[in-house]
Assembly symmetry: C3
Homo-oligomer: 303 residues x 3
């Protein structure tokens, strides 16, 4: 797989070799990401960071990655109310931004929007979330974190808990982890369990008992119940507090389990969990910069 000029739209496009390539490249950028080294690798290159839908965390992660590599950033957060929407199609917007930027990162509420931009651009487009559809870079970050924290990915038992029905990050991560030898445990109330279509070709269990799952797992991937995906506010309230991880639970059930979370959390991980060495979610944020550095450098042919 040749990354130069490649669009990063969905998890479908990654096989095991290409995932490993991203993770290995990320590893090679660790010293720069942690500022032990500086680089001008992307000096003179411009990232257009287009956030049609607010996601400050993801935006800053990509922009930090670009800055750490010496590049510049065009930042658009006013997209929905701007001239970009003066009746113009997304295809035309893509063709225009293509004249400015060397690489585009796009977040948009519509499924397929990143792909639509990509087919209209010569420069590479990276999907930073297109509605309920895909958010592939998050999954690569999750995997990088697992590898860093556990030594390797093959052989892990991974419990995933929370909103497995609507959780985009869960779906993408399952898709990528299929390329490795993983045992999944899906932890959710029946009505929020993972849709069947994601279960093909994987080894898995399903349960609604978080502690049982934790006892058997190397990694716990917690997720937020996403208010914005529920049309019915009462439905949201019903599920909001269903799983709350506490320090005591971790120490009682499996004190070594690696705890990941794509953030932001609401109350599904109690604050006292932060004190544990195996609470990995803020290191996961740091890994976000590292993995995105790798992706930017790869698609720009500078890795």
């Amino acid at each position: 797989m040749n990354f130069i000029g490649m669009n990063v739209i969905g998890t479908d496009q990654f096989d095991r070799a290409s995932i490993d390539k991203v993770l290995d490249t990320a590893k090679s950028f660790e010293d720069v990401a942690q500022q032990k080294e500086k680089t001008d690798l992307l000096r003179g290159k411009i990232l257009a960071s287009l956030f049609y839908e607010p996601s400050t965390r993801t935006r800053l992660s990509f922009e930090t990655a670009m800055f750490r590599l010496g590049g510049d950033v065009l930042s658009v957060t006013e997209a929905m109310t701007s001239s970009l929407s003066k009746g113009e199609t997304l295809a035309d917007t893509a063709k225009v931004i293509d004249q400015y930027a060397d690489v585009i990162v796009v977040r948009h509420s519509d499924e397929g929007s990143a792909e639509e931009m990509a087919v209209n651009c010569e420069c590479p487009v990276i999907n930073a979330g297109d509605g309920a559809n895909q958010h592939p870079t998050q999954s690569l970050i999750d995997m990088y974190t697992m590898r860093e924290e556990c030594g390797q990915i093959d052989g892990l038992t991974v419990a995933m808990a929370g909103d497995l029905k609507y959780g985009r990050t869960v779906h993408s991560l399952v898709h990528l982890l299929k390329h490795y030898k993983i045992k999944f445990i899906f932890v959710a109330p029946a009505s929020l369990q993972i849709p069947d279509k994601y279960l093909k070709d994987i080894e898995y269990e399903q349960t609604d008992n978080l502690e049982e799952a934790m006892a058997k797992s190397d990694v716990l991937y917690m997720t937020r119940i996403q208010r914005e995906r529920f049309l019915d506010k009462n439905e949201y309230k019903k599920y909001k507090g269903v799983y709350v991880l506490t320090k005591r639970m971790v120490l009682n059930v499996n004190e070594k389990i690696k705890i990941l979370h794509p953030l932001p959390r609401v109350d599904e991980i109690a604050k006292d969990v932060d004190e544990l060495k195996n609470a990995c979610y803020f290191r996961q944020v740091q890994n976000g910069v590292t993995v995105r550095m790798a992706l930017l450098a790869l698609v720009l042919g500078k890795a």
Copy 2:
């Protein structure tokens, strides 16, 4: 004409020599704009990009130009709701920003606002559109595109179609093209024809027949019917679809005509026109960066 420290407010201030100077300087930046070369010409210089009115396209064009020249950008898109409006006059805002930036680009809904900023600043101010008044850099880009696509400007027959009554870009462009030997054909329904005041000292025809005009022209300058300039929505709907350029029309009537458009388009140019080599409007976007690089470098004394 000395460009160092100059404000770029309206088309009135340009004569033929100064237009040529901008276009020639732009030409000299082509390799940098297209990234065949890098430069640090404006390293350490700061552009304040003040968009009181949203115009993401124009904003990104200027910011890209600044980055390609090695400079930094202060970007303000929240101007209308910000501290800049805590009852402060535009004159005071100008005097404050003047302490931060080396050059200011301003977009504002009020006519005369760019001039008002300029008289209160020591640093050069570039008008990126002040209401229905002026947008001089767009016209310079249009002319650069004509020169690049046709070889030279003198001798061209230029058809301008669409909303010639309210279209700011049309008015500014006519004003600048007066300095060259041009034959104009103004194509619009009677009620959207170009106001008489723009017709002084030029050679022109007026018609409502687009194909007739195209047959006789070297350049077709299409414009959008601007919804935001119509108070009456029914009036807008009536004119919206009056001219729609298609690939077939171009091939039938004048297959070599150079097609320009300041963008965004709504539906006045069908998507299949994009396939034609003489569809110039996305190259025009690229030229926008090049010409703005020239202007930034000229007013900062670095061309």
Copy 3:
């Protein structure tokens, strides 16, 4: 006092030696601030500029300071409507941004918010205003301006006029000036006079007569009556025009008095005052960049 890694949250943390250190460092950056010299002192460093509450002036001042020192800027102005508020605590936001930035500047409407971020970050946090509470960098800028304009701070008589009850900048400035030999004259209508708690350990007079105070002072520190601090709009209107400084007043009463204002002004300083050499408020804006350069360099250990 060691500045490396230090948070700048409130005026309490400054003693005379540390104030002098900031002012002396700022002085050493004058040539860079005024662009007689360039520097790459903060090359590769990232400032996260988080404006939960709009304050474009302050934001641009910090961002300019960072650019003049060669650093990069992550700019967040959409904070209140963004993913940063997807139910996430400010503590978690801090821990996330800490993974991206080398130094954080935060403006927030809640008192104590800057401190809350600081305790959750490893990187230094600078308070750019937390509600009605503190805005320490403004006070350092005011003092730098007094020292530059008057030669030294000790021995000055400083008249402060306007909204002394709610004016955060006045309160912070009094607090810092306590470390020097100053005589204060507080000029306000009785109901907007400075609260007693700020009067401890200082030499002062109180009056509602601006001209009397000016006649006896070296410095006049004018402030805006802040509409946004009044719940009752009629109350605001009553006080809005109570003090209006004119050029004639200055020339009649004390033509040498140095006039400072933290800006924005509404109508408390007439425009004709700008013509006076001793109108210092736009130089004060320039000093804002210089002092913030000093603070950024100091907390990052690069001064």
